[in-house]
Amino acid sequence: MKKFGFSSIKPRVIDYDRNNRAVMEYIMENEPSFALCIGCGGCAATCSAAQFTDMSLRKLNILIKRGENDEVRRLMNKCMLCGKCTLVCPRGVNTRNVIFLTQQAFRKLDNYAV
């Protein structure tokens, strides 16, 4: 293969029809309140982890719903499960369980790796 000094770039677009949304379905099933998020960002604002890193539950929620799993994997483990977000959520989403279930869902995908 020739060297051109450049190569084509993976599109950033969320290809909704191609993405695998199994994780989202798993969470919807086990934590229905997940559907109630209105993206207000209250959770992200109060988040303990967010002071130290780019964790944002608001973003994570959306990425899960869209099946952007690579980024979900990257973010989900940054959570300390401290539960502040659950206390501030105006829609009463059980946010702590959402993350917990996400981690669980990926553990299932990775076939129960400890």
């Binding site: 934590e31 109060t46 130290f52 499960l81 206390l87 059980n94």
Partner: protein
Amino acid sequence: MQFDPFVIPFNLGLYFIILYCVGTCILWFRDLSRTDKLRLQRGFFGRPFVWSLREIFMESLIHRKIFKVNPVLGYMHMSLAFGWFLLIVLGTIEADVFGDSHLNPPSKAIFFRFFNPEHGAEGFARGYSFIMDIILAFILSGLMIAIIKRFWSRIVGMKKTTRLKTLDKIALASLWIIFPSRLLAESFTCGAAGSGSFLTGTLGSFFADFLPSSQMAYPFWWLYSLSVGVFFILLPRTRYMHIPSELFLIFLRNSGVRTGDKYGSFAEAQVYSCSSCGICIDKCQLNSSAGINNVQSAYFIKGLKRNDDVYDISLNCLMCGRCETACPVGIELGALRMIQRRAGEAPEDMKTIWTGYMRERNQKIRNGLNNYTKVFKYLKPEIIDTSPEVLYFAGCMTHLSPGIASSMEKIFEAVGVNYLFMDQEGSVCCGRPLMLAGKDREARELIQHNTSTIWSSGAKILVTSCPICLKVFTESYHLDLEVLHHSQYIKTLIDEGRLDLKFLNQTVVYHDPCELGRGLGIYDEPREVLYHIARCQKTAYERENAPCCGGSLGNMQLDSRKKTLIASDALYDLTSSSSDYLITSCPLCRKTLRKAEQNDTPEILDVAELVVKAISDSARAEKLYHEEPSEEVINVETQ
């Protein structure tokens, strides 16, 4: 003639169960860790043995604890356990004294009446059989209650009773048949022989008038023997296994064996010692307030026995510890749940071999600790170089009720202590929430991070406002300083006379947070602080019996509506007596209870917030005086 074929079922059952129990004990013993083995050995030849005997008598026979919780239930258990015990003991003696030979096999004692129909006609024997009849009556009375409980549980003051599986039903039936059949068998025999005492005798003679007693007796003796035999044989596969298991458990416990954080034979012994009495179900607020009635400890343990996947159940629990304090068998229910949480969900193929699965998981997790990639890499070590006297850690939850943190700061300032607000800019979580989710390895990272920060400070005292943090600080951190909840710290300040408080002429009710009270046994310090500044009102919901606010981080699944249901019930109980303030000492309780406030509920405050109200003006005035001379002084000058 001293043998009859009908005793065979009884004998089979008896010897089977004896062998089974001995076998299990050996297996369990073999499975104990080395230290636990030693403990047990030492215990067996030491004082613990005596305690155990005493406990076995008090709990397994008399059922003192159940009596305390519910007398009717207590009587039921006592009559069956203690009654049967007496029946066997006295029966053996009877057989030994009045029988034609000594050292008889058990069957002879049990079926004594069959082999000696005429016995007890007169004299001392007459009196003895009278005693035997009393005992039988005693048992039957208990049996009656048992039957009533099964069908109309509310009558015996229980809201819920555990659901049974078929084997349990059969075992239960056979248990129920045992004593009526004995009664009838004996009655007919006595009727035929004209012997027997007030119960068997009278019943016997009554039947004898219109029934062919001699023929009737025999089948009932068969029934009696069969029912006992069946009961014994089914025992291992039913909840009644708790009877033998509990004996072993008591020995283990008295010898100082504890559950710990992994599954082992002590945990297993506890699982099998659960009688599914259902007291935990009544105690559980998920049941009484939120209407969730399939996750309580009784069901959790039943699931364990059946090798179901109980992961979900294990997560749906407030971890408030109310069931554990109430459990008559003293099973460490919280610890068992935590084991399951750490182990996580069983893959399909492993669900049926739970015990093995648990051992494997625990092993894996322990190995995992070594080959585990950090997830909180983004946390950079923090150094505190200004070595303060007191290090104050508010905790995540306190940041959502800042009134508490600011009150603590006021208190620190009032006593002029050199303190540092460690997480003023926001906390790194203490790690407890992760632990409650069964994620110990992740928690360990946070613990290490915070530990190094705290060590670097060189402070003498670590004060936290959050019981959740306090629990993990005291239990899982290795720190070289005194760790106190702010209520404890305030108490020491008062004792040392450093904090000058005035008495607020108001009445307060104190709510014990789960983690602080049942979790760490800190009941008195907050109260003693309150005694200094207000009139404390007693309620029926204090200390061990305090309700959970419902906001607990222990429960992963409870939705916000149900949390509020629990909170409002708790609030209703706590504020039934009119008071000016409802005081708690946990930011999470405070927040959760406030969510359920009605307009007639008293203001809900943290103990620290009330203390600030009570910091006496003289202290303040003094400060003021030093800052600026007051008006009057100047006027005096001018005149």
